[in-house]
């Protein structure tokens, strides 16, 4: 039988505020345990929360970027549960009046664009971090109270690949909105996955499992692949899916049961009496809407129109905002957008992925890349030596002109010099010469290679090929 999976994602995004959601403690990452704490985020009795207005604004900006309806009236509620990560025994969250309703995230899958529906976006406080020791656990409250925005999708995805594309597209939008660093290593984006399977074409959904607290996109992809296959196997072998929470084990590549729905939480939500409602005026929302940053999709269209790039190039560049910014800065400087795009797509992205670095971590500047393209256009460099210079810019930074002079990389277009090499190559490789003369066109490439080697990569390859042809015919 054919089965169809249905997937919904709840993504928690840590907002880029300086201070916590309800107190003035720092949100800085990596501090010594329990150094960013106060009576409010430690949950002392009687301590009163006060809302961080910036967190409200960043959530609404995200909602506007994703086409949500912004609630005129919104409020906070207490979600009650007992766990060492939350000493108040309730988390301040939003229950029935979230800041944003609806919205969509557009994804590209199998060459088509699909709109994944959103249910809502609400704001809540993060909880403390638990560390596990040999026979006890420790609680660090630095993260407790950091503003977390929860983006809840509709059960609108049907394959692990769609879920993966959704996460990437959501991250892109959030980064473009400038509301979060979305640093996965620092836990800025965490995700709960809901998944069920049912016979294809069935009008009812199967019983779902929830996989909690995923912090890598690859993890979500692999966990879904495993979990969907597991559920289908279970049904095929006559078993029944129980509604439960499961944990993903990335080392063993399996999910395993954490708890079944029998002892599921009853959160007893009720309005947070210590916080007054948020009422957003139309003027305020319009002002934020007018100042919205460009969306990734909008930028892709613009890069095609403004710089004449192929759609493919634009898509690659836009995927990472810092790369697209870098491209535009360099393209404006040198005026040869396609050449800049080529160097970024082939060389810069390769170097970044090989060194596992972000653009912000390396010293190359857009001005330097523009300068390099200028040297290529002026035929001062050939593509080989340009790559070499780019490697140096990537590692050490600097001005490409200075590097070219210092390393003596200026392309040799002096036919007198190249002539000598050409004569030598012909003398040393009689077989290739004979091959070429007997019609083997490819043999000339070998001879060009020999000349390039003799010139230590600096000869103008077009000129070498031309001179060889002149000599051989």
């Amino acid at each position: 039988m054919q089965y169809e999976a249905t997937i919904g994602l709840e993504v928690h995004v840590q907002l880029k505020t300086r201070s916590k959601m309800f107190c003035g403690c720092s949100t800085g990452f990596g501090a010594e345990p329990n150094t960013h704490v106060c009576p409010v985020c430690l949950g002392y009795p009687g301590a009163m929360p006060v809302m961080n207005g910036e967190a409200i604004k960043l959530t609404v900006i995200t909602g506007l970027m994703l086409g949500c309806e912004i609630s005129e009236y919104s409020k906070f509620d207490r979600k009650s549960y007992f766990y060492p990560d939350m000493p108040k025994n309730y988390q301040i969250s939003q229950y029935d009046k979230p800041l944003c309703d609806g919205g969509t995230v557009d994804i590209d899958i199998d060459g088509e664009t699909r709109s994944i529906g959103l249910t809502r976006i609400h704001l809540e406080e993060d909880v403390a971090k638990n560390m596990h020791f040999h026979d006890s656990s420790g609680v660090d409250f630095n993260r407790a109270g950091v503003p977390l925005m929860e983006v809840v999708s509709d059960p609108d995805m049907h394959s692990p690949e769609e879920a993966y594309a959704y996460l990437q597209a959501l991250r892109q939008s959030v980064l473009y909105a400038g509301v979060s660093d979305c640093n996965l290593e620092e836990g800025n984006m965490r995700c709960d996955v809901n998944v069920s399977v049912a016979p294809a074409g069935s009008s009812t959904l199967g019983t779902k499992a929830e996989i909690k607290n995923m912090n890598t996109f690859k993890g979500v992809l692999n966990a879904l692949k495993y979990e969907i296959a597991r559920q289908i196997d279970e049904i095929e072998s006559g078993g029944e899916i129980v509604q439960e929470t499961r944990r993903w084990d990335p080392d063993r590549n399996v999910t395993s049961s954490m708890r079944t729905k029998e002892d599921a939480h009853d959160y007893r939500y009720f309005p947070e009496p210590d916080l007054m409602p948020v009422v957003l005026s139309i003027d305020q929302v319009s002002e934020w809407r007018a100042a919205l940053p460009e969306s990734p999709r909008g930028r892709r269209v613009r890069l095609v129109e403004e710089y004449g790039l192929p759609g493919y190039d634009a898509g690659v560049l836009v995927a990472d905002k810092s790369i697209a910014d870098f491209f535009e800065a360099a393209a404006r400087k040198c005026g040869n957008a396609k050449a800049v795009s080529n160097l970024i797509m082939t060389e810069v992205l390769r170097l970044l992925s090989e060194s596992e670095k972000e653009l912000a971590d390396v010293p190359i500047t857009p001005e330097a890349l523009a300068g390099l393209v200028g040297l290529l256009d002026a035929k001062t460099l050939n593509s080989n030596t340009a790559k070499e210079v780019l490697g140096i810019l990537f590692e050490e930074g600097g001005d490409p002109k200075v590097i070219v002079e210092k390393k003596g990389l200026t392309q040799v277009s002096d036919s007198g010099v190249i002539d000598g090499f050409v004569a030598q190559a012909i003398a040393e490789n009689p077989k290739s010469v004979a091959d070429f003369n007997s019609g083997k066109e490819a043999a000339i490439q070998f001879l060009v290679g020999q000349v390039m080697r003799m010139s230590r990569g600096k000869a103008n390859p077009q000129m070498v090929a031309q001179l060889l042809r002149d000599k051989l015919t």
Partner: protein, 101 residues
């Protein structure tokens, strides 16, 4: 559908509510609290007698909204003082019984 812990009748599932609050009650206490809580709820239910048609629900008695704080970092508490309140500590953290998931 009823919310968990509530039934069609006026009765409260005291055992369930006690479990949620992590309270251990003897059977006698359960009976006592059953009566007392039903009285409390019965009293509050008087509000049902009012006609509230057309009145927006509210969680507050005063009309105040949008109480915001500027996004500014303020120093918190000294760690030593914070950890003085912990029954025990491990590596500058509050020590709790091992959490098994």
């Amino acid at each position: 559908m009823n919310e968990p812990g509530r039934t069609d009748t006026d009765s409260i599932d005291v055992a369930y509510v006690a479990h949620l609050a992590r309270l251990q009650l003897t059977p006698e206490e359960t009976t006592t609290f059953q009566e007392q809580l039903e009285q409390v709820v019965g009293y509050v239910r008087k509000i049902d007698e009012l006609d509230v048609t057309g009145i927006e629900p509210t969680a507050h008695a005063v009309q105040v909204e949008n109480v915001f704080r500027e996004d500014k970092v303020k120093p918190g508490l000294e760690r030593d003082r914070v950890l003085e309140n912990a029954p025990s500590c491990i590596q500058e953290q509050f020590q709790v019984p091992k959490i098994v998931e």
